[in-house]
């Protein structure tokens, strides 16, 4: 815990942001192990460069997610998309899951697959909203879009996904 209010408490920041970053990546790449790797890369980069963080230029979260987006771009540079790791495939097919968990897993995987089919901008906004749990205002600030544009993209994309899921008749949420 830092006594100086100007110096961020990086331990607290880690606690606050690790799940958000992880879920942001999970929504983007749809793979648990990859999401963990990317989360780790982001934090390591941030940690190594945290003296460069300038609170005058934005929040820690915005800074972290800026790094996260770079990490994601580099990931796509190095790996072809739509690959499932052996670990993820094993987990998805695990016979030890209960029926409910299996169904949840199927729902989550289907949503994950559908997200991967979206254009990059929609994927990014959805991941920031539902993965990182950002407000529309924060998403707008991070992405350079207007707040109303973010809302419109979210609205349309969620509707589109909803329709796709209903069309395929596979989703069981709320049941």
């Amino acid at each position: 815990m830092s006594d100086d209010p100007q110096i961020p408490d990086w331990d607290a920041i880690y606690d606050e942001q690790v799940a958000r970053l992880y879920n942001y990546f999970l929504y983007r790449v749809n793979q648990q192990t990859t999401a963990e790797d990317l989360t780790a890369s982001t934090f390591k980069r941030a940690w190594m460069n945290r003296t460069q963080f300038d609170p005058q230029r934005g929040s820690v979260a915005a800074w972290l997610f800026g790094i996260a987006r770079h990490v994601l771009v580099n990931y796509y540079r190095q790996r072809p998309p739509h690959m499932m790791s052996i670990d993820d495939a094993y987990r998805a097919a695990s016979p030890h899951n209960t029926e409910h968990t299996v169904q949840q897993r199927i729902d989550a995987d289907m949503l994950g697959r559908l997200l991967q089919e979206l254009p990059q901008r929609e994927q990014e906004v959805i991941a920031l909203k539902y993965g990182a749990e950002m407000t529309n205002r924060d998403i707008a600030s991070l992405t350079g879009l207007s707040e109303s544009n973010v809302g419109t993209i979210l609205h349309r994309t969620v509707n589109k996904l909803h329709a796709l899921i209903k069309q395929r008749g596979e989703y069981h949420y709320g049941s």
Binding site: Y14, Y22, T39, R45, R50, P80, H162
Partner: protein
């Protein structure tokens, strides 16, 4: 969950089904790794937990090294000759500290790539500072002329590369979401008339912009050629990312682009060759 927009009042509960907590083992092990990353150089400025190593010899060696490093850093910052010598010794060209980039560009560099910016090139050795920033400024003036798009060079020290010894120049291109894509393509086609036909790129306007500008903004022949080589990876990456089809095999396209790049006459000033400047 945060829902602050009235437009998303529809049933979006299913959107959370992918949400999950990271494994506690992962969270704990990552925290440990981060703590181990705390190097002495960072801790001197950042953390009160830093303690001097017990081995006095190492302390002195480290102090001497730091002193020389400090002297070198000062020399590097103030002397073009030292920078040139360093680049020559290390085989690095185009290393641009963030502060110099900031000063040269005259506007605040982003800490992150906002939406609408595409990373199109990472060049560690191709661009010299002089042609780099002349080009960048011309590119910005293009935006001021009302074209609706702009480019900046974003010099980064070491956070965007795994090789901390090489400062990377991250080149980004901005397109406005409301831009008329067709008009932009036509504009580019007109510009490319001066350069020759690089057909095949028109199905991929973002890539086309990158190639077009990058190849004729720089003034050094080797730099242009090298830039195109660098683009090969970027092109393939972008093609994968956006599933963009080309009208010809990528290797043929790159060969053409390379040929065009080498055929561009050198100019005394990069600004002279910049579009619409």
């Amino acid at each position: 969950m945060v829902h602050d927009n009235s437009q998303t009042k529809q049933d979006d509960s299913f959107m959370h089904v992918r949400h999950s907590s990271p494994r506690p083992e992962f969270v704990a092990s990552l925290r440990e790794e981060l703590n181990e990353l705390d190097t002495p150089s960072q801790q001197t400025t950042q953390s009160p937990r830093w303690t001097l190593r017990k081995e006095w010899l190492w302390q002195r060696v480290a102090a001497i090294c730091m002193m020389f490093a400090g002297l070198f850093a000062v020399s590097f910052a103030v002397s073009p000759e030292v920078r040139a010598m360093t680049r020559s010794l290390l085989g690095i060209e185009g290393e641009v500290p963030l502060e110099i980039a900031q000063e040269a560009l005259g506007f605040e560099l982003p800490q992150y790539l906002p939406e609408g910016f595409e990373m199109i090139s990472l060049c560690s050795s191709a661009l010299t500072r002089e042609c780099d920033f002349a080009g960048a400024q011309a590119w910005v003036s293009l935006n001021e002329a009302g074209r609706g798009w702009a480019g900046v060079y974003y010099a980064h020290s070491n956070t965007e590369t795994d090789n901390p010894a090489v400062a990377m120049t991250l080149s980004v291109i901005k397109y406005h979401p409301d831009d008329d894509m067709q008009a932009r393509i036509e504009h580019l086609e007109k510009r490319w008339d001066d350069l020759g036909d690089i057909g095949g790129v028109y199905n991929a306007p973002r890539i086309g912009q990158a190639i077009g500008y990058q190849t004729y903004r720089t003034r050094d022949g080797m730099a242009r050629a090298t830039t195109v080589e660098w683009f090969q990876d970027d092109l393939k990456y972008i093609l994968r990312l956006y599933n963009v089809p080309l009208q010809m095999p990528i290797d043929n396209f790159l060969a053409e682009a390379r040929q065009i790049a080498r055929s561009i006459p050198l100019s005394e000033s990069a600004t002279d060759t910049a579009p619409d400047s």
